[in-house]
Symmetry: D3
Subunit: 193 residues, 6 copies
Amino acid sequence: MRPISRFGVPPLDELPDDVRERIDQVGEKTGFVPNVFLALARRPAEFRAFVAYHDTLMDKESPGLSKADREMVVVATSAANDCTYCVVAHGAILRIRARDPLVADQVASNYRQADISPRQRAMLDFALRVATAPATVEDEHLAELAEHGFDTEDVWDIGAIAAFFAQSNRLAQLMALRPNPEFHLLGRVPRER
Amino acid sequence: MRPISRFGVPPLDELPDDVRERIDQVGEKTGFVPNVFLALARRPAEFRAFVAYHDTLMDKESPGLSKADREMVVVATSAANDCTYCVVAHGAILRIRARDPLVADQVASNYRQADISPRQRAMLDFALRVATAPATVEDEHLAELAEHGFDTEDVWDIGAIAAFFAQSNRLAQLMALRPNPEFHLLGRVPRER
Amino acid sequence: MRPISRFGVPPLDELPDDVRERIDQVGEKTGFVPNVFLALARRPAEFRAFVAYHDTLMDKESPGLSKADREMVVVATSAANDCTYCVVAHGAILRIRARDPLVADQVASNYRQADISPRQRAMLDFALRVATAPATVEDEHLAELAEHGFDTEDVWDIGAIAAFFAQSNRLAQLMALRPNPEFHLLGRVPRER
Amino acid sequence: MRPISRFGVPPLDELPDDVRERIDQVGEKTGFVPNVFLALARRPAEFRAFVAYHDTLMDKESPGLSKADREMVVVATSAANDCTYCVVAHGAILRIRARDPLVADQVASNYRQADISPRQRAMLDFALRVATAPATVEDEHLAELAEHGFDTEDVWDIGAIAAFFAQSNRLAQLMALRPNPEFHLLGRVPRER
Amino acid sequence: MRPISRFGVPPLDELPDDVRERIDQVGEKTGFVPNVFLALARRPAEFRAFVAYHDTLMDKESPGLSKADREMVVVATSAANDCTYCVVAHGAILRIRARDPLVADQVASNYRQADISPRQRAMLDFALRVATAPATVEDEHLAELAEHGFDTEDVWDIGAIAAFFAQSNRLAQLMALRPNPEFHLLGRVPRER
Amino acid sequence: MRPISRFGVPPLDELPDDVRERIDQVGEKTGFVPNVFLALARRPAEFRAFVAYHDTLMDKESPGLSKADREMVVVATSAANDCTYCVVAHGAILRIRARDPLVADQVASNYRQADISPRQRAMLDFALRVATAPATVEDEHLAELAEHGFDTEDVWDIGAIAAFFAQSNRLAQLMALRPNPEFHLLGRVPRER
C-alpha cells in the first residue's frame, strides 16, 4: 500500500501549536484526520494559507450557493483533473452536505447525466470551464450564470472554488496523496447505523 | 430523477422467453436486475449478442487474468470514457471480485496512483491505450505485456475487453443509462452486515 | 508485408462448422473472405457474437436509414479512429451501397466537406459525437436528429452503429488487421468492367 | 455537388499568360487540370509563389529521399489535417510514384500500420511532429532521422514539405477545394487498362 | 546561447545576387537583418518563394484589412503554435503598425482578453480556426466574417495569412530559429528615444 | 479599454488596514500597485490567504532554486494556461530577477527553445506536467529532478509553485485581470534609463 504522501508526514508533536491544534480540531469534528492536513503540515506556512483560503471559500453558505453546491463544484472539477484524493474526500462531504448517497458518484463520473437541477448544471458548466479551459472564460459565461439567478458574489465563489481546487488537485497529485479509507464509505449509509 | 434509459424500458412480459429468462436469472443471482439488461432488452437481438459477447470475455478466469483483473480493465477504461453506468456498476463488481473496498474508486479516479501491482499497471496502460488511442497500438506494447507475464490469450482478452467496453460505454451514454442505486454501496461493507 | 493479424489466422478446417459455414457463405457472396472473419474465427464464441451484433445493426434497411447511410456512419467514425481496416473495407461497401465512387474517400477524409445531404450531415455529427465524445451526448442532440426526420429507432441505430464500430475499430487495431487488397478498388469502377 | 472552390474559379482566358501556360502544361502532362491550379489562379501572385515553392520541394529526387517518399510525407500529414483534396490528389500521386496501389490508403488511415520501411516510418514520425506538434521538435528528433541515414538536406526537406503542406491543407480547407474525380482512381489499376 | 538556426546560416557573399540584395534591402529598412532571411537564404529557391508569398499577403493594405490587422493574425496564430520567432518578430511589427505597445503581448497570451474591436475579434476567431482546426472551416464561418464587414478578398487574405504562417511557424520551429534581440524591444518605447 | 477586473476594484480607503498597508507597501517597492492586489482586495480574507501563500513560495531563495528559477516556473506554466496577466507581470519579474531581457519572451512562447540550462529545462518539464497533466505525475518524474540536483524541498517548491499559479491563472482569467502597462516594459531596458 502506498504511503499517505510522497513527501512523508511530519510527527504531530513537532508541529507548531496552531497547526497541531487545527489538526486536533478537525480530527474531533470528523472522527479522523483527513490526510491532506497531515501532508500539508510539513510546511506550516503553506498549511496556514491553504486552510485559510479553503475555509473562506468553503465554510460559507449564501442564498445562491449552498455548502452542498460548493462541494459539488469541487467534486466535478477534481474529477476532471483525475484527482483521487479530492474526488474521494469531497465526494464524501458532498454526500453528507446534499444528504444524497448517489450524487457524488454521478458528478464524479459524468456530471452531464447527474440528477442535478438546471441551475446546478449551469454552475458546473462554468466551474469546468474555469478548471479546464480558463482562457476561454468570457463575459457571456458570467451572464449565463446570472440568468440562472447567481449573483456577482456567487459567480466569484464558483470561479474561485474551481481555481482553488485547481491548486489543491495539483498539490494532492504532486504528493500522490492517499484518501483516508473512511471517506470511501462516508455518507453512503444512514448515520444511525 | 432521470429515467433508466432515454429510450425507455420494455414491459418484462412482452419480452421473448430467452431474454426474460436471462433477466430473471441475473436478478436472482445479483438480488436486483442491473438496468443495462432492462434497457437493452428493448432490442432482443442486440441483447443476445451483447450478453454473449460480455460473458465470453468476462465470465472467464485464466491463470494470467483473474476475473478481478478483467473488471479492473472495465473500470479504468470506462472512467476514461466518463461512463457513469459502467464505472458505478463494474466498480461494485470489482470491489467484490477483488475483495477490496477501495480499489475501484482509486482506479476510477486515477489508476496511476492506485494500490495495484506493476503487472496490473501494465495491463491498465495497455487497456487505456486500446480504449483512448487505439491507432497507436504497436507490437512493442504487446511485447511489454509479455514481459509482465501475460500470454497471447491474455493480451487478446485485455484488448478485447477494452474494445467491448468502448462499445458498452457508448451504448450506456447514448441511453443515459442510470446505475441501480444498489451498485453504489455494493462491496463497500462486509457482506454479513 | 504485414500478416493478416498480429494474432494469426486459424486453419479453416479446424473451425467449428457454423463458423466455417458462415465464412464460406460470405466468401461466395463477396468473391473473397474479408480478413476480419478469418482473424476473429480464432475465437469462435467472439466470432459468433460479433457477427450477430454486426448483422442485426447493418443488414437492416429502414425508411429513415438506408444501408448506405449505415455504412456512411461506419466510414466516418472509423476514420475518426484512424482504423485502416474499417475505413478501407467499409469504404468499399459504402461505394457499392451508395453507388457513388467518390463519397467514401470524402467521408473518410473530412465528412464536413463531403457531398452529402443535410440529413446525412446531422447523422454523422451525432455518430461522431458518440464515437469520439460519448460523455457529451445529451437530449438536445437526439432532438436535433428528430428535427431531421430520424425516428427513435433510427437514433438508436445511428448511436449503436457508432458504438459497435468503436469496438470493431479497436479490435482491428489490436490485431493490426490488414484489409484485403480487393477492398481498395471495389466500387470505384463500373461493375461491368 | 459542391463547387470546386468556395471562392470560385477564374475564367482561363482572363489569366496572365504565365499562369495560363503553366495550367495548360500541367493539364497536358496529367490529362486533366488539378483543381488546386484553377482555384489558386484567382490570385496570380500567390499562384506563382505556391507553385514555385511546391516544385522546389517536390520535383526533386535525392539519394536519401525519393519522390515517392516526399509524396508519402504529404499524404500522411494531410491525413492528420483531414484535408480531403490533398489526401485524394497526393494519394494518387503516391500510388503512381511508389507503384503501389495500396500504400496511400494505408498511410492516409494509419501510417503506423502501413507496409513501409523503418526508415519511412521514422520519416513520417518526424513529419507528423512538424505537422501537428511543431513546438516539440527538438535536436534529438533530427538525430533520430540521422540514425536512419537521412542527411541534413533530407531533414530540411522532410520538415519543409510537412510545413508547406500545413499551408496547402489550410488553403484547400479554406476553399473547401474539391478533388478532381480522376484522382480517386489514379494509380489503382494498371496503366494499360 | 543557441545558434540562429539548427541548419546554420550561409556566408552572405556566397548567396545569389538577388537574395543578397533583398537581404541588404531589408537590413537597411529595418536597421538589422531579421534572422529568418539569413536562415532561409541557405535555400535560395525556397527563399524566393517564401518572400514572394509573404510580401503578396502582408505588404498590402485594403479598406477592410489594415497592415496592423494582418500582423495581428500572424501574432495570434503563431502564439497558438508556440512559435518563438514569429511571436517575437511579428509582435514587434504589430506594435509598430498598430502604434500600440501593449496589444502584441495581449494577443500573444490570450487574444480573447485583448483590447481589440469586435471586428478584430471575429477576424482572429476565424484565423485561429484555420490555424488550429482547419478541417472545421465551414460556410457559416465565412458568413460570420461577412457580417463584420469583411469582403471576399479579406476573407481569403485572413485565411491565407493564417495558412502561410502555419508554414512559417513550422519552418521556424524546424530550424529553432532565434529572434533577433532587437525585436524584443521594438515598438515598446517611443521612436524618438 | 477593458477595466482592471470584471468584478471591479474596491476604493482603497474602504479596505481593512492590513490590506491597505500591504498594498501601499508593494506600491512603494514596485513604483506602482500591480492590479492583482487591487482586484483581490475586494475579498480581504482571500487577499490575505493569497498573498501569504504567494510569499511563502516565491519570496524564498534556496541553493537549488533561485528566485529567478521560481519566476521562470510561473512564466512557463502561466503561458501554458494562456494567462495574460501572469505572463506579462511575472515575465517582467523574471527579466529583472534573471537580469536577462530576452528569457521571459522565450519561455512564454516555447520554453523548449529558450536559452536555459538543462537543469532549468528539467524544472520546467516537471512544472508543466504539474500544470497541464497533473494526474500523470509519477515517482519517476520526481527522480528525474533529483538527477538534476534538485533536493526534496526544491521538488515540492517547483510543484507547489506550478499548483499555486494554476489557481492564480484561473483567478486572473475569471476576472479578465488587466496587467499594468508598466509591466510590459520592465526589465527590457537598463535600469538607469
